[in-house]
Amino acid sequence: MLKHRVIPCVLLKNWQLVKSIHFDSFRTIGHPTSTARIYNSRNVDELIVLDIDASLNKEEINTEIITDIANECFMPLTIGGGIKTIDDIYKVLNAGADKVAINSKALEDLDFIKQASSIFGSQCIVCSIDVKKIDGKYKVFTKKDGVLDINPLELAKKYQEYGAGEILLTSVDNEGSTKGYDLELIKLFKDELEIPIILNGGMGEPHHAVEAIQNGADAVAAAYIFHFSQYTPNDIKRELVKCNIDSRIIDN
């Protein structure tokens, strides 16, 4: 059986690992390479690394740091932040990443997704959507432009049509809150897409992952819980198995 993945998501800013709350108030929490090494030794299912300000600051992609992180990873590695061109994707993959997460560029230019997926394959293209709830309705959010009048589910369907292989769906409201995933949000997406959805934002205890998956997430991503609590990815997965959800547990 295919296992539901539990994916640590780590944020880079100035090439340091940070953790945000609601995409703001960042705290530096260590060096990316050593963090990647620890996650690899803990046999996590996958790792997502996002450079949160790369798009905003139009920074060049730092392939050195990606290479350093990738050298520690013998599990799938997704890199996102500031990817604007096909050449950027080549650089990131050549540095050792397996997938790229694309957010702003996908919003600006759907054809970029089509082009990228035809060159690198859909499996390589993760489209990232940040969502905020405004007056009871879900809207797409970007750091640069704030809330946009775009329905996230419709956007996800477009991304799928244009060749995305996975959707990384983040609730900005729940992000860093530890109050659990936005279950209303994932319920809207359940059975609507053919491609897998990674739900992100809000895990504060292992049972939150169970709720996310029971309500339609294919995989869960989280940051805060792994940095600021005693829980490890394996604790989350033991809880999944306890609730009869297929999960991969490797005991070290």
Binding site: M1, L2, K3, H4, R5, N40, N43, D45, A70, N71, F74, M75, P76, L93, N94, A95, G96, D98, S118, I119, F120, G121, S122, Q123, C124, G165, E166, D191, L193, E194, I195, P196, D218, A219, R248, I250
Partner: protein
């Protein structure tokens, strides 16, 4: 022939560096190349790859690699490791975006996952960790427990009537997740991304005795 010089074929199809890194981790310096002389002098050949079948074949052809691979793998019987797209390319034919002939080393076809007749529509691509169920005790699975989880990411799968299947994996149905025919070993999953069990598989390939 150099003693255990392993080459990773560079045909612009994806995560070559990941594969090279995995070889380094098990103590083997594999070379990424499409240089014909280096491939001829190698003792073992690895064909990784992610992406579309058609592009894969086109790139192999444009780089003049098809004849070299036929010579070294089929005629000279060098141990060959195909990963993901590198497994699919050894088939006779793929139905990805039309019909495309493959290398034809095994009598096999590559078709898209189809859950039309199933109650539960599974997601495509098949992405994540899934069990690899052995059909026999293949040498590349030495010291790896049966039913171990390996990392998969693909939308198309391999079908063959030849008696070469070494494992299957359940995704809606049991599909072929690895094959072995003589000196050819091929895996739909990514050993280079499958942590301990994957690195062990790569180590087993490095340690294969080339004298078949």
């Amino acid at each position: 022939m150099l003693n255990n010089q392993i080459v990773i074929i560079d045909y612009n199809m994806g995560n070559l560096r990941s594969v090279q890194k995995a070889f380094e981790k098990v103590g083997c310096d594999a070379v990424i190349t499409n240089n014909h002389e280096i491939i001829k002098n190698a003792s073992k050949v690895v064909l990784p790859g992610v992406g579309a079948f058609k592009d894969g074949m086109k790139n192999l052809e444009e780089l003049g690699l098809i004849d070299i691979l036929n010579e070294e793998i089929i005629k000279n019987k060098k141990p060959f490791l195909g990963i993901c797209l590198g497994m699919q390319l050894i088939a006779s034919k793929s139905y990805e975006n039309g019909e495309t002939d493959g290398l034809g080393w095994v009598d096999a076809e590559v078709v898209k996952f189809d859950f039309t007749d199933y109650d539960k529509k599974l997601k495509i691509p098949h992405v994540g960790w899934n069990n690899v169920n052995y059909k026999n005790n293949n040498v590349l699975f030495d010291a790896i427990a049966n039913k171990s989880d390996f990392y998969f990411v693909h939308s198309y799968h391999f079908q063959t009537k030849e008696d070469i299947v070494t494992s299957t994996t359940d995704y809606g149905f049991d599909f072929v997740s690895s094959v072995n025919k003589n000196n050819i070993y091929a895996f739909q999953f990514h050993p280079e991304k499958s942590q301990i069990v994957g690195l062990k598989l790569i180590e087993n390939f490095v340690n294969l005795n080339g004298e078949l």
